[in-house]
């Protein structure tokens, strides 16, 4: 069973969202997603300043066996990306909810209303056997 942190919100496409004290959002991929991908070898992140649409592809994670899109769980504007992933994409495998964060976003008004709570996401995973 993959790890699901109680204080985060989740998208069905396996991204997590953390609300930071200043109201901005931190985004990454879940433990389930990193486990399914396997060892990551490359992460392509969006440009700072890019306006994201909820549900649209915003990044690419490439493992030894596949390259997959990461979908933005919320609408907003990219404030920062995790530059450390360029040289050490394995941070996502090692600590997907911490050092493996991908981007920080200034949310658009009303963004994230349809995100799942930890229990609902865990139930989703249980349903797919994850």
């Amino acid at each position: 069973m993959s790890q699901v942190l109680p204080d985060l919100r989740y998208a069905k496409s396996h991204e997590w969202v953390r609300t930071l004290p200043d109201g901005t959002l931190e985004v990454g991929i879940t433990d389930h997603a990193q486990g399914a991908l396997g060892d990551l070898v490359f992460v392509e992140l969006p440009e700072v300043g890019r306006v994201l649409e909820a549900g649209a592809a915003c990044a690419v994670v490439e493992s030894v066996k596949a390259a997959s899109d990461v979908y933005s769980p919320i609408g907003g504007t990219v404030l920062a990306v995790n530059e450390a992933l360029a040289a050490t994409p394995e941070l996502i495998n090692q600590d997907c909810y911490g050092a493996g964060w991908m981007m920080r976003v200034q949310p658009a008004a009303g963004a994230g209303a349809d995100l799942l709570g930890a229990d609902a996401y865990a139930a989703e995973l249980a349903a797919v056997g994850g």
Binding site: E47, E62, S63, V64, K65, A66, A67
Partner: protein
């Protein structure tokens, strides 16, 4: 094991297993109207002996003309060992091998090829080859748009001095994916990109500028100034180069202050014979920072579990069998056989040998130019430095002159009437190391006769 995949017995057994009486019934879901009932205009088959006689007769009709054609494909001496080795059974495939455990020899050849091409162009990484020079321009254009993080523009600047065939291939391949190619005119004195016309595009959002060196007319572009200009405008530079010329010209990685970003070209001059326009192969190199935007595949050198060196395909996670519609291109395989020939050709010649081919070709063309320009009614269209081709202008239409010379066994040049009507009676001529001084004189004499 028989080579034929299934015998008549196999077919009968398979049909019986799935409960279908015959092959016709198997395909009965294809509507009648869509079925082909025999092919019109296809003559009945010939025996091996008959086809042998037919082809011998046709080859005789072609003759062995003295060719001064260039325009993208060049006649160079190919050491006999190149194709003797290339056509060995172990190499005889167009495909990149997936199974590293069964393909170390082929993988090593590709690895050596990549090393040689990166060394020629000066850029850091090479893929395992593309289809040809034209498709390489298209792939480079698509790659530039993909790799350009700061510009989302789908527009590129292409000079009128780029091989018109490359422009057409790029347009038909990438044009349908939304890319737009805006043409920059050339300067009439030098036959090079008109930098004043180029400057009118300053400040506009373009993904890249394509620069062909030597350009289609054989003239040498001011690649340093052009590269620096494009970079100052935030554009990528796509270098389209002749690999032979790189033995004596500055490699694209050293153009201007920062060097070209993507380098592509037609690989045919490296050991591939002229044969009805192909098959040839394209090459592509780039900086390491763009490696994941590069189409095609790369062979890497690595070690196995026991620490022994070996070769394997790497960076194919973005190809279409994995990424489908989001793949970097539809190129998954490569021109393996032609690439093999090129690798063996480059190995046999070495850097000094390739430089000699380039130098001799250049000086032969200079001698040819002197002889031809001395013929009344013939002049060079452009001044300035060249590699191994030049444009000549005649007082009379080129087509008739070419036809006369062809009757004397001389293919005297490429008629530019269709692509460059503004040049009047113009043709592109080329001489390589395959032409002797006698050959050049024979051409000059024949041209003098044809124009008399």
């Amino acid at each position: 094991m028989p080579f034929l995949p299934h015998t008549e017995t196999d077919v009968r057994e398979m049909l019986a297993t799935i409960g279908v009486p015959d092959v016709e019934t198997l395909f009965d879901e294809i509507p009648e109207a869509l079925r082909v009932k025999g092919l019109d205009g296809i003559p009945p088959g010939l025996s091996e002996m008959e086809i042998g006689r037919l082809m011998t007769a046709r080859a005789r009709r072609d003759g062995q003309p003295l060719a001064f054609l260039g325009g993208g494909a060049y006649e160079h001496h190919i050491p006999a060992a190149v194709w003797a080795l290339t056509t060995r059974g172990e190499f005889y495939s167009a495909y990149t091998p997936y199974q590293a455990e069964a393909s170390q020899g082929t993988l090593q050849i590709i690895y050596e090829y990549q090393s040689m091409i990166t060394s020629l162009t000066g850029l850091e990484v090479s893929n395992a080859s593309l289809y040809d020079g034209g498709s390489a321009v298209a792939e480079a254009a698509l790659m530039a748009v993909r790799a350009h993080r700061k510009s989302k523009s789908l527009r590129l600047l292409v000079p009128a001095t780029l091989n018109p065939n490359y422009r057409r291939v790029a347009l038909s391949t990438a044009g349908n994916q939304g890319l737009q190619f805006d043409v920059v005119p050339y300067e009439r004195g030098s036959g090079c990109i008109d930098q004043k016309a180029l400057a009118t595009h300053a400040g506009k959002d373009y993904a890249a500028l394509v620069i062909q060196q030597p350009n289609f007319f054989g003239q040498l572009e001011d690649v340093d100034a052009l590269t620096d200009w494009a970079h100052a405008q935030g554009m990528f530079v796509i270098a389209a180069v002749n690999p032979t010329s790189l033995a004596i010209l500055k490699p694209p990685a050293e153009w201007g202050a920062k060097g070209a970003d993507i380098c592509i070209g037609e690989g045919q001059p490296l050991g591939v014979p002229l044969s009805s326009g192909g098959p040839y192969f394209g090459f592509m190199t780039t900086r390491m920072e763009h490696v994941r935007s590069m189409p095609g595949r790369i062979v890497g050198r690595t070690v196995d579990l026991e620490g022994r060196p070996g070769f394997t395909l790497t960076l194919q996670a973005r190809e279409q069998h994995i990424r489908r519609g989001k793949a970097t291109s539809n190129i998954c395989t490569n021109q393996g056989l032609l690439m093999t020939a090129a690798t063996i050709y480059m190995t046999l010649l070495g850097p000094a040998g390739l430089a000699q081919v380039a130098e001799v070709s250049r000086s032969r063309t200079r001698e040819l130019a002197e002889l031809l320009i001395a013929v009344p009614g013939v002049r060079a269209a452009f001044s300035g430095p060249r590699f191994h081709e030049l444009v000549l202008q005649l007082d009379v239409p080129v087509a008739g002159v070419l036809a006369k010379l062809a009757r004397e066994g001389i293919l005297a040049g490429v008629d530019l009437q269709e692509d460059y009507p503004e040049l009047g009676n113009a043709m592109l001529v080329c001489a390589t190391e395959t032409k002797t001084r006698d050959d050049l004189q024979r051409y000059a004499d024949a041209l003098r006769g044809a124009l008399r």
